[in-house]
């Protein structure tokens, strides 16, 4: 089975550390991978592609040395392999212009302002990944325990993967 990765990008090691700690429960289902800049993230994405795996979610800071997070999200959104990848901005200082750009051009799915709460972050990650599973027509069964079970059940019911017959 293909692995579905979560990519976290932030230039502050403390932030990366805290983010992966907050969502560690999900790691054995959705491997987390970290990068500290847009350039570093590109390397990770190449690796994910070359291994034939998927990128389910990218959690990205905005202001970083080198390219900005919003520009990275736009770039990733333009790659055919990652059009369905859920894109979340996790930032303390993306201005209105950058945020509008991310929504309009980068298909931003969610915006989290720093500082964030651990439970809030976990919930957002689960919701986004649930959407990802549905949008990409994956078999939801292996993810039901970890993600939004109610939503996935409804999806299964509607699509007849399991039927009453």
């Amino acid at each position: 089975m293909k692995k579905i990765y979560i990519l976290c990008v932030d230039d502050e090691p403390e932030v990366l550390d805290a983010v992966q700690r907050n969502i560690a429960d999900i790691e054995d289902t959705f491997p987390i991978i970290t990068a500290e800049s847009a350039d570093d993230a590109r390397k990770v994405i190449e690796q994910i592609k070359s291994e034939g795996n998927d990128l389910g979610l990218i959690l990205c800071d905005h202001v970083m040395p080198g390219d900005h997070g919003v520009d990275l999200l736009i770039e990733i959104g333009n790659q055919p392999e990652f059009t369905q990848t859920r894109k979340v901005l996790l930032t303390g200082q993306a201005g209105l212009d950058a945020t509008v750009k991310a929504v309009n051009k980068g298909q931003l799915n969610h915006y989290i302002a720093k500082p964030w709460g651990a439970e809030e972050l976990m919930q957002i990650v689960k919701d986004q990944l649930t959407e990802y599973i549905i949008k990409t027509n994956q078999n939801p069964i292996p993810y039901m325990a970890m993600l939004d079970a109610a939503k996935l059940s409804e999806y299964i019911y509607k699509n007849g993967i399991l039927s009453d017959e």
Partner: protein, 482 residues
Amino acid sequence: MNKSTDNDELAQVQKIGNLMARFKDLQPETMRFKAGSTILIEGDANECVYVIVSGTVDMLKQSKETAHNMQIDTFGAGDLIGLTSFWTKQPSFLASKAQTAVTCLRFNASDFEKLVNTDAVFREAIHQLFISNLSGRYRRMISLNVKVAELSEKLENEHQQLKEAMTELKQTRNRLVHQEKLATLGQLIAGIAHEINNPCAALMQGVDRLSNSLPTLLSIDATSDNFELEAQLLQAGIDCPYWSAEEIRRRMDDIGKQYPELKRSLVRRISPITSEALALIESELRSKNPDRLQQLLDCFEIGTALRSTRIASSRIQALVVSLKNYGKQDQEEWQLLDLRDGLRDTLTVLSNQLKQYTLDLKLNPIEPTYCIGGEMNQVWTNLIINACQATPCGGQIHISTEQDNRELVITVTDSGTGIKEALIEKIFEANFTTKKTKSSFGLGLGLAISKEIIEKHGGSIAATNAPLGGARFTVRIPVEKA
């Protein structure tokens, strides 16, 4: 009033007097007016012509705007009053008021007109009189117009000067307000920095204490159990370096291959452990007892948490020191300072803005000089913020200091688009800005104030375009020892 014609006018009075004597029918009435009394009222119908024999009469016109009477002319002996209204049959255009005691001859208008119509000699004489009277008034009118034009020009000049003075005042006021704002901000920063400093110091001491006592506590032999391994892992956590994200990914791959049965969440937790410390828990990694491994990993992570807290609090402390220096109140005094210290403090304060640029610092040793530290920091702040705003993300900013004989040379160069040659002279003027949006420093005063401060220190500032594009600001400050 034209005095040179006084004699002519007297002659005219005599002439008309003679005429009157000849034509007794006219019977002019001799009128005497006290000083201040009104002879004709503006706007009233006038039936008479007056010839002034002696005294002075003010001709007045009421201003529509101010409702005041403006003096239009002054008439003396030989001048005619009521001439225009008599001739045009319209109400009096002006009021006339005796300035001194006035004697004049009053002619009844209808009698006067009858005589003019019937007697050719009288008509000619009266026409001459009227024409000389009117031409006198006309000459005075022209000289008045010239005077008005001259006054208007003078007024316009004064108006212009006032306008310039006003602009200058406004600019000075803006500058002062701006400086006052910065000074207030500086005090505020210093105050906040001080407030943060104390809890930060407590934090640092707490972390140091925990880092020292926890491993010792665990490895005390007197306890029944041996926590030596826990103590070692705790210490390994405390001493653990920060790995780059790439390094962590590589280590996770290695560990994942070495111990394929481990879950990824465990692999992540193990990945920062150095190979020396990893060797200590080799058997736990292979064993089927996950609880013991969890326990040891917890110890390691307590260590890394202590390390992170220590590093974070020292970062806060370094920031606080820079903020305190940057905003210090006593920096408003002349002090012997190394300009590089202020530059470094400014860079720390602006570190968030500078994150997006590659910073190239070449701070060569320079002699300390007498300067006002707080003001110099303002200059550095302005130059560095300008450089950031002129440079696209990912660009470069070079800052250098060096000593050129008795002068200190500080340059700030960016890799932006540079300054248009036509604007290079203008950029130090107040209110000059190329920034489209108003940022917190967007008064357009930055460079004007910087120039003022540097000149106050006996130095100079110049803008050029760097050879490789981008703008370069060069500040030269003479070394002052006292």
